[in-house]
Every structure is written in C-alpha cells, then in structure tokens.
Amino acid sequence: MQVLITIVSLGVFCLLAEIFNLRKLLVPVTVIGLLGVLGISLNLWSIDSSIDTNYLNMMATTKFSSAFSSLFIVLTIFILLMSDDFYKDIPTKFSDFIAIKIFLLAGAVAMVSFTNLAMFFLGIEVLSISLYILAASRRLDIKSNEAGMKYFLMGSFASGIILFGICLVYGATGYFNLEEIYALSEGVGMPVWFPIGVTLIVIGMLFKIAAAPFHFWAPDVYEGSPALTTAVMSTLAKVVAMATLYKLLSGMTVALGYKVELLIVIISILSMTIGNIMALRQKNVKRMLAFSGISHAGFMLMSLLTLSTAASTLLYYTAAYALAGIAAFAVIIMVTKNKENENIENFNGIGKTNPLMAAILTASLLSMAGIPIFSGFFAKFMLFSDTVKAGFLIVVIAGVINSIISVGYYFKLILAMYTKESNEEKVAIPFAYTIVAIVAIVLNIVIGIYPSLLTDLLQ
C-alpha cells in the first residue's frame, strides 16, 4: 500500500510541477522518486502475505506483488528516461505525459497487489484509460487517432466483459474478497454463474494480453501509436496483464479443471502460431513486434498450466521479455525518429553507421528468439521444462517449433542491419536512449547468466 500511495503522490507532483514551471526538473525528480519507491518495494520483501487491515482488506503486500511491482517500477523508469527526448516537440504537454505514465504505473501496482476485486477493476481501468490517452496522444496524426480509437473500443468492450464476470462471481459467492472466493470455490453447490463469471474475467484479460482469438486489435494499435507508447504497451501493459491473470486464476480457483487446461493449451498454441506466422510477412517493425508480442503471450500462457508453482518462472520470463523489449524499442525509436514510418528499410546499414545500436538491437532480438546467454533462452528453457514435467508435451513441441520460426523474422531485421547498404548519414544519438538501451540489455544478460537472482525470489 505504501508503494501505491507514494507512486500516486509522485503523479500529483508531476501535475503540480507544471503550475510552478518546474518542467526541467520533472524527469530527474520522478526517476529519483521511483528509485525511492523501488527501495520501499524491496524493503517490504520481508513482510509476507500480511494484509494491511487498515485499508479494508483491499490490498496485500506479498512476495508476488513486491517482485512484480519492482519489475514494473524498473520498466517505468526506463520509459521515463526516454520520454525527455521523445516529447521534445510538444513541451507544453510534457508534464501531462509524465503524470499519465506514473498513474499508469499506479494502476499496474494495484493490479498485482489487490485482494479485492474492486481494487482489481479500478487498477485495470486506471491502466487502460492511461493507455487510451497515450495511444491517441499525437492529436494531429490520423494514425495515432485511429490507434487510440480502436484501442479504446476494444479496451472498453473487454472492460465490460470483465465487469460482467466480476458481477457473476459476486452473485455466486457474495464476496469481492479473493480469500473468501477461494474458500467458497471448493464447495459443492456453487451456482453455475461462478464458472461463467471466471470465464468472462479470463476472456477479458486475454483481450488485454492480446492472446490469439482476441489479438486482432494489437497490430493496428501498436503500429499507429507513438513509438514510446508502443514500448509501454508491448512491455509494461502485457506483463501486467499476464501477472494479473496468473494472480486471478491462482487466487480464485483451487485447481483448474481438465477442460480449462485444454483451453489454455489451445489458446497458447494458437497465439504462438498465429503470432509467428503473421510476423514473418510484416514490413513495419512495430507491427512485427506486435505479432512477436502475441506469440510471446502464447508462451507466457503456458505458465498457467503449472499454476501452483509457476510464479517464479513467469517472473523470469516476463522480466527477460520486457527488458529485451525496452532495449529493442530504445533503438527503434532512435532509428525511426525523423522517419515517416518504421519500415525495415530504415534499418539498412546501421551495422556500419551505428555499430553500438545495431549490436544492442541484435542482442535484444536474439534474446526474444531464445538464443543462449541471453535470458530469453533460459526463460523458455525453464518454461518448457516446467510444462513437460506437468505432462503437457504437445504444447512444448509447438513452442519449440515456434521458437525456430521466430528466428526467421528476427533475422530478417538483423540481416537488414548488417548486410544492406545504408543511404543515410550518421545521426547523433541522444544520450538517454543509449543509456536505457545499454542498461536494459546488460540487465537482460545478467539475469541470463545468473537466473537464480530472479527464480529464487518466489520459491
């Protein structure tokens, strides 16, 4: 709870800073503030599953919530460091964008530390509404408008479905509190509304994660939004939604039935396959990463098959994916800064004109593809071995085949960078992007070399 309060007060500070004309201080102060919040969050580590009774049982600080909150805070710090340069052309709205990002983080933290479905709903709405604004934030750009509109329509449609699910769960149990629902869900004589409600909540969350049958909005929205917003959506928002789905399922039901597991297997295989096959024929890099994100959602959904033990694997996978994503987007924003679109041709010859950036982008793509020494490989390895142990061989076979397919489109970009000739002059890189990209990829490699740093946390 302290974490959430501090984050929200940082957001309010951002809004006030505009009045007092402190725009220059904004990024340093918020980044330092968030580092402080990260400290608080890690400091709460020793407290385990103690529900803050002062707050009406709305939130609880558990190891799960602290670990994921810390990950979200780190990702937000990276995003904020990049904002300074990204919004240079619209300085008057700068503080609003920073504030919206901080509130987005508040929603994310609420979503992983809720114990009451009311808090969950508020968290997901705060996160989504912030993202609608960010997606449509280039007001004069028709593509950004279109992305915002599509995201808004799909997002609020999904929110309606989630709300209906919450309502049916409430009707069946009489409680919003997760512990009470968990205790009641084992009992016999549960009305049929309860499984329907849980299913509706899961469908709504699958919309937010952009998993296979509900993925159709993602490519358009990712392509049209400003690049930094796409970075937020494909790293932070996806990780938050996945962690929340995990928490919801493990918090509301004692054990998934055979039918539910079969459904998860089907959705997981579908997401991986559709994401990868569609990504092969994309020319726009943002669109390609959107489809890559869909396939990664399929991989992450595998962790739901080993629901009781997969928390640490999920944390590791999401951290590896999100850090690689941040590094990749830092380079993509830098390269396509003054270009009209994000087509692959814009990346031609960066290997010669800008070797450092090319190396970082290569490393992050290799991590996403799952090549050893990068953490993406160990993440997939752990996920696969957990799933095989649980007896779902077929989904692992599909996963391995899809990893091989994914190498195809990641290498298309890498080859463009190193083998094609550049027709551009060398451009100066803003310092912030370089720092963000280097730190993110170094963190990715460090957790790749020492996986136990993260995997031991939630044991």
Binding site: A136, A147, G148, G160, P219
Partner: protein
C-alpha cells in the same frame, strides 16, 4: 426471510434481463458503424451489469455490491470522457465519425 420484491420476481429473471441488455450492447458494438452509437452500446453493457450488481446486492443482503456500482459508474464516466476526446480529434482529422473510415492501418 424478509418478504421483498426480489423474492417474488426471482433472481434468475434479473440475470436474464441483464444478459439480454448486455447482448444488445455487444451486438451494438459489433454491428453499428457510428462511433457515438458504439459508445452508447458500451454504456448499455456497463449499465446492464450495474443493474445486476444491485440485484445481487439485495439478494445477498450485502451493501458491497451497491458500493461497487458507484466505482463502476465513476470509471465508466472517465472512460467515456476519454473516448469522446479521441472521437473529437478523429472528427477534426477525418470529418466523419464512421468507424469504417478508420482504415489507415493495414498490413
């Protein structure tokens, strides 16, 4: 058990009514092309659920459900405010609010 209107009507009928309203909303979102009507359909979906929350709240003799309705109303208002803002900027750029005109992003 207190004799109230809910026992006479039966909770199932409330659920049927809500599902009906919710489906009207869903089909409105899927089939109507005018953005404002789509917004209205989303509102119908959310308000149908609010109705069921209140019904369940009475059914369980528990005030929490009614409090949740306040939350969801506030959230719906915030959502529509943002949605209308996006709609205005779409209208300024395109001169129309037909969502079939939003076709720039294809691949």
């Amino acid at each position: 058990m207190i004799e109230n209107i809910l026992n006479i009507i039966g909770i199932e009928n409330y659920i049927f009514l809500t599902v009906l309203l919710f489906c009207i909303g869903v089909f409105g979102v899927l089939y109507r092309r005018n953005a404002i009507i789509v917004f209205m359909s989303i509102e119908i979906m959310l308000n149908a659920v609010n109705l069921l929350f209140v019904a369940f709240s009475t059914y369980h003799q528990d005030a929490e459900g009614q409090v949740f309705v306040f939350f969801s109303m506030a959230v719906a208002a915030a959502e529509v405010a943002v949605g209308l803002a996006i709609l205005v900027s779409v209208f300024r750029n395109l001169g129309s609010i037909d969502i079939d005109n939003l076709k720039n992003l294809k691949g």
